[in-house]
């Protein structure tokens, strides 16, 4: 029989231990919060505007915690990876904080996971921003720059068109096709597998603006900055795990 691992102040549930490295994979909650829903973790890795994401979720009645602590991320009920900035720096930061492995664990555990903007791009295999850089390898595909014929960055409000897969996901519930969302980016994701593409957007070229694979969601636009429709999308995400 395993000796139960304990982490001070936390009650661990559904845990398993990796036989090779002894890594503890678990969901859990603070003792003080037993009986309450664990908060949604917003990963803080020094990139981007976390506060807007937090305030938007709180407005919708969810509880949040902005953190880079592996334990707090693992024990959260859902995880959001926000981010603006450069791909390379972001990966370096995640690795430095050892959050790359934590993100893999969280996703494997089946918790709802949402990557926003750069947070979505990081889920893919690689990006070419300031030289080639490997990503988190959770989704297959790469991250490319818009062609020089377009004005770069793509800044402002653009519409999303859901694909046949997109109409089935809970995140787009109550959001009409062709709703406007706020974008601000120079690179876009290019998934290898069409079935992960939930929505496309037209900026001279059509690019993927939303992805989903099982419990992993990603959007290129900023729902926390997209007024009513953005809040609706986040509300859908908060409700995914209820």
């Amino acid at each position: 029989m395993h000796k139960l691992p304990t982490i001070k102040g936390y009650e661990l549930v559904n845990f398993s231990i990796c036989e090779i490295c002894g890594y503890i994979d678990c969901t859990g909650r603070k003792f003080s919060e037993v009986g309450k829903m664990a908060p949604i973790a917003i990963i803080d890795y020094g990139m981007g505007n976390l506060r807007s994401v937090q305030k938007a979720i709180e407005k919708l009645g969810g509880t949040t915690i902005i953190t880079n602590s592996p334990l707090k991320i693992i024990t959260a009920s859902a995880v959001i990876l926000p981010g603006v900035g450069a791909f390379k720096d972001a990966m370096a930061q995640l690795k430095k904080l050892q959050l790359d492995t934590i993100i893999h664990r969280v996703i494997e555990s089946g918790k709802p996971f949402l990557g926003i903007c750069l947070g979505m791009q990081l889920l893919f295999n690689k990006s070419y921003e300031y030289g080639e850089c490997e990503g988190l390898n959770i989704l297959y595909g790469d991250v490319r720059k818009f062609p020089e014929t377009l004005k770069i960055p793509h800044i402002g409000w653009n519409t999303i068109q859901s694909t046949e897969y997109g109409t089935r996901i809970p995140l787009l519930e109550g959001i009409p096709d062709n709703s406007y969302f706020y974008f601000v980016h120079s690179y876009y994701v290019n998934p290898e597998d069409d079935s992960v593409i939930m929505a496309m957007t037209d900026y001279g070229i059509k690019f993927t603006s939303m992805v989903c694979k099982e419990n992993v969601y990603g959007c290129q636009f900023h729902p926390e900055k997209s007024q009513t429709m953005g809040l609706r999308l986040l509300e859908n995400f908060v409700n995914v795990h209820l």
Binding site: Y180, Y182, S226, Q227
Partner: protein
């Protein structure tokens, strides 16, 4: 299709909106947060806060304004005025700003644009350019007439001003825009000092010359006085967004009214969350 943006700008001094905002249902005309909320409700596409606070000590107040705004208005927020260091940018981003507008610090030290873009991404860095038309008169002499200058060739260009428009530089606005694009700026906030406050319309010539030259988006500013001016600058001027301040604050135009007009003229604008035009 990417929609053209309509952007109200609020000048903020020590946490208060300069001259106030003349909304009917506003409790405190000088509170930038309340003004931001009203513009959010009206469907403004973005908001610009320009901090004109003179002293460095009072700059913390702006952080508080940004924080409180980001708590209630879930819309893109650009903050400018007095930003000098990467730490200034980081603090504002952490407070809830999405994009940072740099003006004087960029002109004084262009490498700052590059550093900021590399650290926070190009999409985050807006370079504000205050431009004013100048004429260079280059005289030419004709042989046999001694030193007498008998002709002038007038050459016009737009000069970049810094320190809120008080100090001229040696920079040519068009070349400067090209340069900051290369350095990694993600957008230009272009203000025509000749037109600012006149309500005679945006400087189409300046805006068009710049938009032909660079490949990053341009927010046109200075001179908006009526509906047609917005249409002109978004079409003839080649601007991606149009900014105005007093016109919106004093309710000479409302944002829904302006967007309805632009939509009727065939311009793609966002009316609330749903697509209105194509």
């Amino acid at each position: 299709m990417l929609a053209k943006r309509i952007i109200p700008c609020l000048d903020v001094d020590k946490g208060r909106v300069v001259k106030g905002v003349n909304f009917v249902n506003i409790r405190d005309a000088g509170d930038p947060v309340e003004a931001a909320c009203l513009y959010d409700e009206e469907g403004a596409d973005e908001l610009v806060f320009l901090d004109i606070t003179a002293s460095h000590e009072d700059r913390q107040i702006m952080l508080d304004v940004v924080k409180r705004t980001a708590e209630v208005a879930f819309m893109p927020l650009t903050v400018g005025g007095g930003i000098r260091t990467l730490e200034d940018i980081e603090q504002l981003l952490r407070a809830g700003a999405d994009r940072i507008s740099i003006n004087t610090a960029a002109a004084n030290r262009p490498a700052f644009v590059k550093e900021a873009a590399q650290r926070f991404g190009s999409q985050c860095i807006v370079v504000a350019i205050d431009a004013k038309k100048h004429y260079i008169k280059s005289g030419f002499k004709t042989e046999g007439v001694g030193d007498l200058i008998i002709g002038y060739q007038a050459q016009e260009f737009w000069k970049v001003y810094i320190h809120g428009g008080r100090t001229p530089t040696d920079l040519d606005a068009l070349q400067w825009a090209k340069k900051v694009e290369e350095l990694g700026a993600g957008e230009i906030l272009l203000t025509s000092m000749d037109r600012d406050g006149t309500k005679d319309g945006y400087d189409l010539e300046l805006t068009k010359s710049m938009s032909d030259l660079i490949n990053i988006p341009i927010i046109a500013s200075g001179g908006a006085g009526k509906l047609e001016h917005f249409f002109e600058v978004l079409t003839l001027g080649g601007a991606d967004a149009a900014l105005a301040a007093s016109l919106f604050h004093y309710r000479q135009l409302s944002i829904p009214q302006l967007k309805q007009y632009l939509h009727a003229k065939g311009i793609t604008v966002r009316i609330w969350g749903c697509r209105f035009s194509e």
